[in-house]
């Protein structure tokens, strides 16, 4: 393409203005706030690195940070796997695919409050569908408390969030699958390749740009756990299901420690941002464009 030096900037101009004014200004302010003690309703008080020192020395922070890592390790593969599986399922030329596509997308638009209530009932220790099925059909005498036992609570939250988001990943994977030229796969099949060979050597590589995108988005989504945690377990029992995002909300809007919450947010940024950066750098190894 031929273009002047100014042209790219004209293309990005609206986004650039918005970025500067509506995102970077508040973000810059919040960075400054992380060096203060601020309860929001009165002026901030400068305390330097105190917030960062406190959180690095706080066992609660490390517990929550560890929960965040575990959550990401469980959630990201789960939601990507589910999304891809669903996309492949509905991409088959079967009657009713359109209907199923809509159905799988439903959780993404259903209110998290309703989703959580329904799942709380399914996972309820005494009266829940799951445990009653375990007792009746599988003879498990004392099934665990999925939401009340520290060993399971975090995984329960990761599972419910994955269930809710899978429809969205499915949509993205579908868009990617639709972009793959069918003549390629057909030609390979005619040449004698099996379905799984086609999948591994043609579909997956051609899907890699979208897979990369979904990976980054899922990683970012794993750090946006406030809504689902609040509705499902309230962060309990005893912080077992508290991830950084929930801990940040607690500090910001329950305890009104906005300075500390901002410092926490920058730690979250370091973690997720670091992982994202690694992904971007490693991109060349496995992502094929055009």
């Amino acid at each position: 393409m031929r273009y002047s030096k100014l042209t790219p900037y004209l293309f990005i101009l609206p986004m650039l203005i918005g970025l500067l004014v509506f995102r970077l200004i508040p973000i810059g302010a919040s960075f400054g706030i992380s060096f203060t003690s601020w309860n929001v309703f009165s002026p901030p008080r400068w305390i330097g690195l105190e917030n960062y020192r406190t959180l690095l020395q706080s066992p609660v922070f490390w517990e929550v940070a560890r929960n965040t890592v575990v959550f990401a390790l469980v959630f990201v593969p789960l939601v990507m796997g589910l999304g891809l599986a669903l996309a492949l399922l509905v991409n088959q030329k079967l009657r009713g695919s359109t209907f199923f596509r809509g159905v799988f997308f439903m959780p993404y638009i259903t209110s998290i409050v309703a989703v959580a209530l329904a799942w709380k009932w399914i996972l309820s220790t005494r009266f829940g569908l799951l445990n009653n099925a375990l007792i009746e059909w599988f003879g498990v005498w004392s099934p665990p408390s999925w939401l009340g036992d520290p060993a399971y609570a975090l995984f329960a939250v990761a599972f419910v969030l994955a269930w809710q988001s899978a429809g969205f990943q499915m949509l993205l994977f579908l868009a990617g699958l639709q972009n793959i030229d069918e003549s390629l796969t057909e030609a390979a099949m005619i040449d004698g390749a099996t379905r799984s060979q086609v999948f591994r050597h043609i579909t997956l590589p051609l899907l890699s740009p979208i897979t990369f995108f979904v990976l980054v988005i899922s990683l970012i989504a794993s750090s946006q756990t406030f809504e689902v945690t609040y509705a499902l377990t309230g962060g309990g029992p005893q912080r077992a299901s508290t991830t950084l995002a929930f801990y940040i909300y607690q500090n910001a809007f329950v305890h009104f420690q906005m300075g500390f919450a901002s410092a926490l947010a920058y730690m979250l940024l370091l973690f997720v941002g670091g992982l994202t950066l690694v992904n971007f750098l490693a991109r060349r190894r496995w992502v094929h464009y055009g």
């Binding site: 990005i12 259903t110 639709q178």
Partner: protein, 299 residues
């Protein structure tokens, strides 16, 4: 020479092979349908619970074991909850407000994100990687810590109690949307671009006549996502909207919640009302996301 013991009948063999293939194909379809059915049940279950609850009487919502009879449906006024929510609680107006805000924000995102995505994907310019990195970086900061500074900014701009804080930021800067479209635009073959350049097309013409049409799945997906994200947003309307008539749906739903008690039946009716437009948007966008076989261009 003796005749062979087994007659080789090519026609019959082909026939048998076809039948076998059909049987395997039918089995495969069956398995797929079964999987789809199981997933569908799991997926629809909470939504079904919401619908049933919206047709219940208040005392029936929390029972152990939970009941699935929509008790209100069998009374004289089956749609009482919906009527109350739509008219007494003004949800019809709130739905209209949400529709207005979300449509403008989502449409605006299509424009700004595609323009920016085109530049990031196909052009070279100084600071490109830095700007892109900044964009992604903004996705990683939780809204809780930026909302108060943002609020103070809006106060200074004089935008309180208007729709501007809800529309303008997401219209102008969609980090997710730009990221999505950048990745998508990168997959368009360079040959198309080169051919158009040789024909004398300007970058904007290439963007408009080649890249946009090829990216309808991504654009439609982005519209759906942007619409839904904006539609479901609660924290910003809570802080920015005071006027009752300007309320969006999620804000309206909070009026059904109380300090000690919430009206669950009304809340579910209101939630269903809130979900329906998103379903419609999704169905409408589906056509563009799923195209049939499409030539990807020059071979």
């Amino acid at each position: 020479m003796a005749e062979p013991a087994v007659v080789i009948d090519p026609v019959r063999d082909a026939e048998q092979a076809r039948r076998r293939k059909r049987a395997i194909s039918a089995l495969r379809s069956g398995v797929i349908y079964a999987l789809l059915a199981v997933f569908s049940f799991l997926t629809l279950f909470p939504f079904l619970w919401m619908v049933i609850t919206s047709f219940k009487l208040p005392g029936d919502v929390f029972r152990i074991p939970p009941t699935f009879t929509p008790t209100l449906l069998f009374s004289d006024t089956p749609f009482a909850n919906y009527a109350e929510v739509l008219f007494k609680f003004d949800f019809l107006r709130y739905a209209g407000n949400s529709l207005f805000v979300a449509s403008i924000a989502a449409t605006g995102q299509l424009v700004t994100c595609s323009l920016a995505g085109f530049a990031f994907a196909r052009m070279r310019f100084p600071l490109k990687n830095l700007l892109f990195g900044l964009l992604i970086f903004t996705l990683l900061i939780p809204i809780e810590v930026t909302i108060i500074p943002e609020f103070l900014l809006m106060v200074r701009l004089g935008w309180l109690d208007t729709y501007l804080p809800l529309i303008v930021p997401s219209l102008m800067v969609g980090a997710f949307g730009t990221f999505l479209l950048t990745e998508f635009f990168k997959t368009v073959p360079a040959s198309l671009e080169e051919a158009a350049t040789i024909d004398g097309a300007s970058p904007f013409a290439i963007y408009r006549h080649i890249f946009l049409p090829l990216s309808t799945p991504a654009l439609a997906s982005l519209f759906v996502v942007a619409f839904i994200t904006n539609w479901n947003e609660l924290l910003r309307p809570v802080l920015y909207i005071s006027d009752r008539n300007l309320r969006t749906l999620p804000l309206g739903l909070t009026t059904l919640q109380g300090q000690y008690e919430s009206s669950w039946t009304l809340l579910m009716a209101g939630s269903i009302i809130s979900i329906l437009p998103m379903i419609l948007v999704y169905i409408a966008a589906q056509k563009y996301i799923i195209r049939g076989f499409m030539s990807s261009g020059i071979k």
